[in-house]
Amino acid sequence: MTHDEIKSYIEKTFGDKLTLLDTGRCEPVFEVKLADWHDVARALRDDQTLQFDYLCNLGGTDTGERLEAHCQLASIKKSHRVDLKVVLDSGNPSLASVRDIWPAANWYEREMWELYGINIEGHDNLTRFLLPDDWDQGHPMRKNWDAPDFVRFPEFNA
């Protein structure tokens, strides 16, 4: 399916569960509502026209103001792709696990939990992963994260 077909099809099928954020420069990007994330993910995989059976990538983003989760899906059978984005609640960032839909999400979700502090609901193995086992200095990928004893990249004032 071409980008336009995917766009119109997804908008038609899911209606108000997601909104199109189109930059026109890459694959269609949809912002999924936080509450509908799991349903939309399952429907995207199970829909016979879309068949997004393959999870390319899943991760968090900290824009400085808010936390987001981004997800890239592809269909092996249909050879098309879509990008999804979920804006998380900044106070208590939390996202439903999609491990039951794509087993591949397992480590990606652990990584999100560890590096961004996004709580993954329904994930049973949220343990230290990339960081040392005794890490207790917060979530390093957040923009406001600050750790002592770090050599700073110098600022250049010419």
């Binding site: 770090f150 700073r152 990249f153 600022e155 250049f156 010419a158």
Partner: protein
């Protein structure tokens, strides 16, 4: 017959290894024999000197320092009362260098280069922090193609003789990267008119681009980063 076929395949493998037994080695004996390095090989960073005068080509424009992704280059060159840059120190920390070659590409004056030299291991980590003297010495014999814009020295011999200091080292100018600031030093005026038109025609847009940050510096959000 499966057994015989397997046996045959085992023997086939042994003939391949056996065949190599008599061949010449493809490796070399390192300290005695050395590989011929390619001219573009990115080894250690050196500072290049002018082929004629032996002065450093560096104009202290700081572009390499700003292009370096690991902050391995530290240049300290404050402006003096004439708004000329004076080189206090030019230090490259080879333990930080990641050999990406961005400094070489950033430089417009053939001053810094990743030379095809690779033997600089030491027993002491501190010895890997090189100052300008060491860098110049390492770069002494490195061949390079001088792609600089025609300098006053080359363009106008008498002028160069008259004012050797300014001519040999145009980098002493305040803003060498910015074309309009080229003939900043008033003594170099006689030589400058030839240089002035040459400079913008060669790489006009690039030079402008490179020069831009040095003016718009404060807007650049070089926030804290970690190395």
């Amino acid at each position: 017959m499966g057994v015989l076929k397997d046996f045959f395949n085992l023997v086939k493998g042994m003939t391949i290894t056996g065949k190599h037994l008599g061949r010449h080695a493809v490796t070399i004996q390192y300290p005695e024999q050395k590989m011929e390095m390619f001219e573009r090989s990115r080894g250690v960073v050196v500072l290049l000197s002018d082929k004629e005068t032996g002065e450093l080509n560096c104009t202290m424009c700081m572009l390499c320092m700003r292009a370096c992704p690991t902050a391995a280059i530290q240049i300290d060159a404050p402006r003096d009362e004439n708004k000329k840059r004076v080189l206090n120190s030019f230090v490259i920390d080879n333990t930080l260098c990641c050999y990406c070659g961005l400094c070489e590409e950033a430089c417009n004056f053939c001053a810094i280069k990743m030379a095809p030299l690779y033997e600089f291991s030491t027993w002491n980590k501190d010895d890997l922090v090189w100052d300008v003297k060491k860098l110049q010495e390492m770069g002494r014999d490195v061949p390079y193609e001088d792609t600089r814009k025609k300098k006053p020295a080359a363009a106008d011999k008498p002028a160069a003789e008259k004012k050797p200091a300014a001519a040999a080292n145009p980098g002493a100018d305040a803003k060498p990267a910015a074309p309009e600031a080229k003939p900043a030093a008033p003594e170099a005026k006689p030589a400058a008119p030839e240089a002035k038109p040459a400079a913008p025609t060669e790489k006009p847009e690039e030079t402008k681009d490179e020069a831009a940050p040095s003016k718009a510096e404060p807007s650049d959000d070089d926030k804290k980063g970690d190395v």
